[in-house]
Point group: C2
């Protein structure tokens, strides 16, 4: 129950905008205009987790054993550690230095701060995995820098962020479109689609009882990603709502083309780096899974799917990503942060 | 136990700098160079708290009662809500858009992200207090904007931040000094000194059993501030260490003069707005307390104190700020995040 001065509240409310709203360095959240942003902030913090909460003993035992793992299993883990150490950093930088810098309403800055904070937690969790397993971090890094299909994935996203880190006159429609494109590329193409090849592989290992600690952390990470995707989706939708001139037919086509490019790059990466068959999965189905995810992202922002009617070939993966169905999964402290409100808000059913 | 490729590790280590180090958007924390930064990150997260953990029933009862509070008590709370809602926002913006943008080592970005996150939590806690009491937020805001002595405090800090939000060639010594000054003004003058007038008032109320929930949240906030002050202090010290040309006699004098100005502004604010005597405190001692704090900040960064040998007139305030002496203070979930490692690291004894 907030008590508000009605006239002033209406004035303050009207001054709140996604971009070009009242510029203030003070943090007057009230009156809340983008209540989805504050709700999402609460959902995200209810999902709070810290890497040390998750035991890594079993993972370390498996990693050191000569019989429990194949070289393929180790390779996938190395790829996961290397890729996400870099990718989460790129996302965090973009959220902080591009998106939070350009939005003007305090509740948007609040939830973007939480997003950036979760990228920190993910980076810290990767450090925890690397140090627990005793992996040489330079090996991860080198693999990462030398693999062409990963480098291309990164270039795809960084080209829509670097230019936006400096003064940008958002009164111009081209610049509004650059910002909209950034939100789409990072939220829907990168976090929303290009993360899912490796997520799928690591959860496949987890399903085979390999790397239970790492698998668990990736499940928490995936739950966080759902919220990041939703945050970028809401921001984009409200930006378009307030600036309808952005959302032209040509621009929508450009977004669909970008998703097509993102999917192609992810498939190249999978063919090049992810030994899908060795985990007992069909590569054809694995690629179809990426198409399926990409279409969910396109539909999420009101764009036409690339493959209408496509089915999810891995319903077990959807189950595994859907933490709410498996309450016992949570143990100890994490459970306490897991409140019922947050469970209903994150819906991974369609994945 | 980290396994590192020795040559590459040495190379990566050497490339890590406070400023002008290897620029990377990826988040390769290893090898850790600024280990104080990672340790502080862990301390900070061990202190994690959320506003909803703290009951506000008693505060609300008192606020609504016509007999339990004086108008002075209410005024102090309104000042606290208004001042910190704005001030924490200014600090968070500076940490994100100035400091994190300029530093280059990933572990520094990690701990600065945690700092920014705690400003978010503080903003959220103020929202929680405002809405629990049913205070009109526009009243807080208006008070805040119309009070000259507060406006001056803000101008004092924002003038050292706004110019730094854009491209800054840090190869030039003047610009390095601008950055050093920013760290000093925000960490030592603002969070380190100018926050303490209101902190002292609110904890005085708390000592009189008024506003137990708000008092508790401010104690958590104070504990966080200790770490923010320490973070800015370490950053400044390491920046100077790596760029000794910054730390000239003239520059050191400028820092001392800035602290003198900060103290004068805080004293003006106290005389103007804080009814110290009405809480049973001596105004002379209260102003001496600010002098005492300011000297601790100057000494912390190796500068001469303004009032050598000055004593802390309020030892009870030091006790109250020192959470580690009062274990029972923590209840429920917060206790679990309070680990022994963090308790020893935050030392408020001297306050
Ligand atoms: Ca993410
Ligand atoms: Ca602070």
């Amino acid at each position: 129950t907030f008590v508000l001065d009605k006239d002033k509240a209406e004035e303050a409310f009207a001054a709140k905008k996604i971009i070009l709203g009242r510029e203030t360095m003070t943090f007057n959240l009230l009156p809340l205009k983008y209540s989805w942003a504050y709700d999402l902030y609460r959902t995200m913090k209810a999902n709070h987790w810290e890497p040390e909460d998750i035991p890594m003993q079993k993972d370390v035992e498996q990693w050191r054993s000569s019989s429990e793992l194949s070289e393929v299993d180790r390779w996938i883990i190395m790829m996961g550690l290397g890729y996400f150490s870099a990718a989460e950093g790129i996302v965090g930088d973009n959220i902080i230095h591009v998106v939070r810098e350009l939005v003007t309403a305090p509740e948007l800055k609040l939830v973007l701060g939480r997003h950036a904070h979760e990228e920190n937690i993910h980076a810290d969790s990767l450090l925890y995995m690397i140090s627990s397993l005793g992996v040489n971090p330079h090996e991860c890094e080198a693999m990462f820098e030398q693999i062409d299909t990963i480098r291309k994935k990164n270039e795809f996203v960084t080209k829509t962020s670097l230019g936006l880190r400096r003064d940008l006159d958002l009164h111009q429609i081209e610049n509004k479109q650059l910002f909209a494109k950034n939100l789409f590329v990072f939220g829907q193409c990168m976090e929303g689609t290009q993360f899912y090849g490796l997520f799928g592989m690591i959860l496949s290992l987890y399903r085979q009882n390999k790397f239970p600690g790492i698998g668990q952390m990736f499940r928490y990470t995936l739950r966080d990603e759902s919220n990041h995707i939703e945050l970028c989706r809401n921001l984009l939708m409200d930006l378009v709502d307030e600036n309808p001139e952005v959302w032209t037919k040509e621009f929508k086509q450009e977004m669909v083309d970008l998703m097509t490019e993102a999917v192609d790059l992810e498939k190249e990466f999978i063919r090049d780096c992810l030994p899908v068959n060795a985990l007992g999965l069909s590569s054809e189905e694995f690629l179809q899974y990426i198409d399926y995810i990409a279409d969910r992202r396109l539909e999420g922002v009101g764009l036409d799917p690339l493959n209408p009617g496509i089915q999810n070939p891995f319903p077990w993966l959807a189950e595994m990503m859907d933490i709410q169905k498996e309450q016992n999964f949570f143990e100890g402290r994490v459970t306490e942060y897991q409140k019922s409100s947050s469970l209903s808000a994150v819906d991974d059913d369609e994945l």
